[in-house]
């Protein structure tokens, strides 16, 4: 099974997604799945159904993004009065109170990152579908960035969790998680799985086809 043997061609090899071993696919590159001899994971030449899955998840996340920003992420009930905070009003609160570096981080993590992730993934999907050969190195880098920054969107979910834990147990005020937090959690999970389902190797497949 070394690539040097007479029957093996380099095109028949695929990288195991779990352990990175170069595995020779049974029946050549366009045949079905093979199990990795080193870690037993199923090896595909490309992630299965990558474009459709990523599209479905990106669209779901985009739909969830709307209620995530409209509905309040938390409700502060203090002395009978209730005050509701959305993602955006939470960032504005910090800004008004002079905490602009933190406001900037919250705004970036909760508003900009999910939006940029959706735009970047949509751009990558369309460019792959149009068999674009435009700057594959930069597009691969863009994918790596999308993969790396997505987690920071969880900041607001954690803020709600911590405030709920600290304040709901006291008797003067209560903080409750709002519906927006549920949708926002959905956005984070969907965009993370979307980034995971996209196969960056598709960028190079199409770029290679057009360049010959």
């Amino acid at each position: 099974m070394t690539p040097d043997s007479a029957t093996s061609r380099i095109e028949d090899f695929a990288s195991c997604h779990d352990c990175g071993l170069a595995v020779e696919l049974e029946g050549g590159a366009h045949h079905g799945a093979t199990h990795c001899p080193r870690c037993r994971a199923v090896v595909h030449r490309r992630k299965p159904d990558s474009l459709n899955r990523t599209w479905a998840l990106v669209i779901t996340a985009a739909l969830l993004y709307v209620p995530a920003n409209i509905f309040p992420v938390m409700k502060v009930i203090s002395l009978g009065k209730a005050q509701e905070d959305t993602i955006l009003s939470g960032a504005i609160y910090l800004l008004v109170h002079g905490m602009w570096p933190l406001a900037l981080i919250v705004f970036f993590a909760s508003v900009v990152v999910p939006l940029l992730k959706l735009i970047a993934l949509t751009f990558l999907l369309i460019s792959v579908q149009r068999s674009s050969s435009w700057r594959p190195v930069e597009r691969t880098k863009l994918y790596h960035i999308v993969e790396a920054v997505g987690r920071w969107s969880m900041t607001d979910i954690y803020v709600v969790t911590i405030l709920v834990a600290l304040v709901s147990l006291g008797n003067l005020a209560t903080i409750e998680a709002g519906l927006g937090a549920v949708y926002f959690a959905g956005v984070v999970v969907m965009t993370m799985i979307a980034a995971e389902s996209f196969d960056p190797r598709l960028i190079w497949d199409r770029a290679r086809e057009t360049h010959g």
């Binding site: 090899f13 080193r38 870690c39 790596h144 834990a165 998680a177 937090a181």
Partner: protein
């Protein structure tokens, strides 16, 4: 198949024999990784992604950091995390208090996500590292090592402790002036756990480990 024979380099470490075939995980370009010096990195010649990184004393360092991480993880969960003082009332919380409160308020989805990303995933990350590396260090094989090492790769993206710290920072600012927040022992061990696990992750030589725990055909 690749020979699993050990090659001892000039620096006395067990090196991976040069010339092995690998496909770039990002662009699929096949490359043969040459002799990588200790501390050196092999990059994909086409897209620049990292193909292989050789780390000095990878096994010892990663295992030591993972064991330290386990200790800090236990401390992070066993001791009080944050306390809130408001008009004479003191509320103590642990790491899991927020999860429980969210669950009781009727948002189990959010509660599960927080539980997964701050407690379950970090624990699986630390325990799978120890489960795979400790037997390697002792020179024994334990059934399930390959499976646990696969699990490690899967859970890593869901371990988000550093983001949780950012959440704490924002929460503290929001409560400023309203109440006094007292950090507990667990918070400090949690803060230390983050660089410890990050260092464990970056000192791990996965290819080296796979060649030793992988199934032999």
């Amino acid at each position: 198949m690749f020979k699993l024979s050990a090659v001892t380099s000039a620096d006395g470490e067990l090196a991976i024999p040069p010339g092995w075939l690998t496909l770039c995980h990002a662009c699929d370009l096949p490359s043969r990784v040459g002799a990588v010096p200790v501390g050196g990195t092999a990059f994909c010649p086409r897209c620049g992604s990292v193909l292989y990184k050789r780390i000095r004393d990878s096994l010892d360092r990663t295992l030591a950091l993972a064991l330290g991480g386990l200790f800090l993880f236990i401390a992070s969960n066993a001791f009080p995390f944050l306390a809130l003082k408001m008009q004479g009332n003191v509320t103590h919380t642990t790491l899991s208090t927020g999860v429980r409160a969210l669950y009781e308020q009727g948002t189990p989805i959010v509660a599960s996500l927080v539980l997964l990303t701050t407690i379950v995933a970090p624990f699986l990350q630390i325990s799978s590292l120890i489960f795979v590396l400790a037997p390697l260090r002792l020179g024994v094989r334990v059934p399930g090592q390959a499976r646990m090492f696969r699990l490690l790769r899967r859970v890593q993206p869901w371990s988000m402790m550093e983001v949780f710290i950012m959440g704490i920072l924002v929460s503290l600012v929001k409560l400023l002036g309203m109440a006094q927040i007292v950090p507990g022992i667990a918070l400090w061990s949690f803060v230390l756990l983050i660089p410890t696990l990050a260092a464990a992750t970056s000192s791990l030589d996965a290819e080296w480990v796979w060649r030793r725990v992988g199934l032999k055909p």
